[in-house]
């Protein structure tokens, strides 16, 4: 379980203080798939970096499985438990062969060679990249590179994976690959997923959506609840899935449609 208790975070010194997160309290249970949605500058990436102790709260406390993220005796275990996948695939690949890149983490944990081999093979199989194990990562597509980055995190055997806008630099096909992979990791392998995004369609696939605005939690609920009020979502700068917008337009044109519609297929079913 990940627990934030009254967490605030300030960037800069006392004179030029930017209050990125203000008094956030949030609990994420094991096995959840939580999307964190918010406009640029709402505090999403700061929140991600607080989860595994890359940043320490200015006030309050962050706990991963009961251990504080600032406890120096726990921080290495927390970083092994909480894997991160960042926005730019080119910034997180360091080796010249896919399998070497994935092996970097377990090597640094001091695993036995046979164990490293097994972990790398398994991680690459999970993300569907085993056939490209010997490729040069720089020749891969964006979606493939991000899957290598995910495999690198998986090789650490994490309980939690945090995706910090991991799809925003990808084309639609790459985006689909990553979204499908995260869903599989959650449903088949029980990994808790924290999926940070500003794309409403992606957030709509999560079980729970937390909306950040100006460093505070503005909404926290199911995607249906969060996207039910189109105007409120616009005011928070997050937008809603396009299908929801179409349904909203039809509602205003006098057609009776449930407010919970988030996909075109749901909309077609409601109209037929």
């Amino acid at each position: 379980m990940i627990k934030f208790k009254n967490v605030s975070f300030d960037y800069g010194d006392d004179e030029n203080k930017i209050n990125a997160l203000k008094d956030i309290s949030l609990t994420i249970e094991d096995g959840e798939f939580v999307a964190i949605l918010g406009h640029n500058g709402s505090g999403k990436s700061t929140l991600a970096r607080l989860i595994n102790g890359l940043l320490a709260p200015s006030h309050g406390e962050g706990l991963v499985d009961g251990s504080s993220t600032v406890d120096s005796s726990a921080v290495w275990r927390i970083r092994q438990q909480v894997g991160m996948v960042f926005q730019n695939p080119d910034n997180q690949i360091i080796a010249s062969r896919v399998e070497e890149d994935v092996a970097f983490g377990p090597e640094n944990l001091g695993c036995e060679p046979a164990k490293i081999r097994a972990r790398v093979d398994e991680a690459l199989a999970v993300v569907g990249m085993r056939e490209l194990a010997h490729s040069d990562p720089h020749l891969l597509s964006g979606g493939q590179k991000q899957r290598v980055a995910i495999a690198g995190a998986l090789a650490m055997k994490p309980k939690y994976l945090v995706f910090d806008e991991a799809t925003s630099m990808l084309d639609p096909k790459g985006r689909e690959e990553i979204v499908a992979t995260t869903r599989r990791l959650n449903s088949d392998y029980g990994i808790t997923i924290i999926f940070i995004t500003h794309i409403p369609e992606e957030a709509a696939l999560a079980g729970r959506v937390v909306v950040l605005s100006g460093g505070t939690i503005a909404m926290d609920g199911t995607p249906q609840a969060v996207f039910s009020d189109v105007d409120a979502a616009a005011a928070l700068g997050i937008g809603v899935p396009k299908a929801r917008l179409l349904a909203h337009g039809l509602e205003r044109a006098g057609i009776d449609i449930p407010g919970s519609i988030l996909t075109v297929d749901d909309l077609v079913a409601a109209l037929c």
Partner: protein
């Protein structure tokens, strides 16, 4: 005619085992005031094509002309690049000066323009992207949000007063507000007579803004039409790995269910109106 490409073919690494034809036999005319979206799957040649537009790449064969004058012989590359502004993906990564005003004015100073002229053009450029001069000019570009940084980078190109603006994925990575700001800016520029060509993956954006869509696949232009004429080819677009706008997808799926809706509806507004009418007609029967 602003730009005319005739039988343009471009090959990377010609004469080597890695030779790869990125564009083949492209015929393309772009008029003054056009607002074009260039779409296509990854590797279809979009980036190669736009790099031809301001002479960063020159055709392996075929020719390019700017306002009827042949590029390379009648029009020099310097002139071409002044008239045609190219904005790369994530242009904010090219910001480097201490202040927003200095960053936008950099190109102008390189051209040797005098201080007052630079200052007035910087002010105009900020106005064009919708940022207030007094509030932004003296700030560090690195203290701005991602969306604001992108607008400043675009202003740096606008300060050169191009007649034609070419943008590679101008909204990628931006939130809903940032995207809106970019489109407001592009619409405004276009209404002032600047031709726009943007590369994008977002079909929803394309349907709302562009007046002409060019679809590239495997280095060839496969469709070139108004948005209404493009999305009727929904199955073909899916086949080559492209999305269709959610609004067009709704029309497509309802038509399959027997709804009486014209297939050439693409924008949100017109789809909502025609779907509402069709649903009411069905209920009445």
């Amino acid at each position: 005619m602003l730009i005319e490409m005739a039988k343009v073919t471009f090959e990377y690494l010609p004469g080597t085992p890695l030779a790869h034809t990125a564009l083949s036999d492209i015929d393309l005319s772009i008029s003054e005031g056009d607002f074009i979206a260039l779409v296509g799957p990854t590797g279809s040649g979009k980036s190669t094509l736009i790099q031809h537009l301001n002479g960063l790449l020159t055709p392996t064969s075929g020719s390019l002309s700017f306002r009827g004058r042949s590029v390379g012989s009648d029009v020099g590359l310097l002139e071409l690049r002044r008239e045609i502004g190219l904005i790369f993906q994530f242009p904010e990564s090219q910001l480097f000066e201490h202040t927003v005003a200095d960053d936008i004015g950099f190109g102008l100073r390189q051209q040797g323009l005098a201080g007052p002229e630079v200052a007035s053009r910087v002010e105009d450029a900020l106005l064009q992207v919708g940022l207030d001069y007094a509030h932004y000019a003296q700030r560090s570009p690195f203290s701005l949000s991602g969306g604001e940084q992108r607008l400043v980078a675009i202003a740096g190109v606008l300060a050169m007063r191009p007649q034609f603006l070419v943008l590679d994925e101008p909204t990628s990575g931006l939130d809903a507000r940032g995207k809106e700001a970019i489109f407001d800016c592009l619409d405004r520029l276009n209404s002032e007579g600047v031709a726009i060509l943007m590369v994008t993956h977002s079909m929803d954006e394309v349907a709302e803004s562009a007046r002409r869509i060019i679809v590239l696949n495997e280095g060839k232009i496969v469709l070139d039409d108004k948005p209404e004429g493009i999305f009727v080819h929904a199955s073909f677009l899916r086949e080559i790995g492209l999305d269709i706008p959610k609004a067009a997808e709704l029309v497509f799926k309802l038509r399959e269910k027997g709804f009486n809706i014209q297939p050439d509806n693409v924008s949100m507004r017109s789809v909502v109106a025609s779907v509402a009418a069709a649903v009411k007609e069905r209920c009445a029967n």
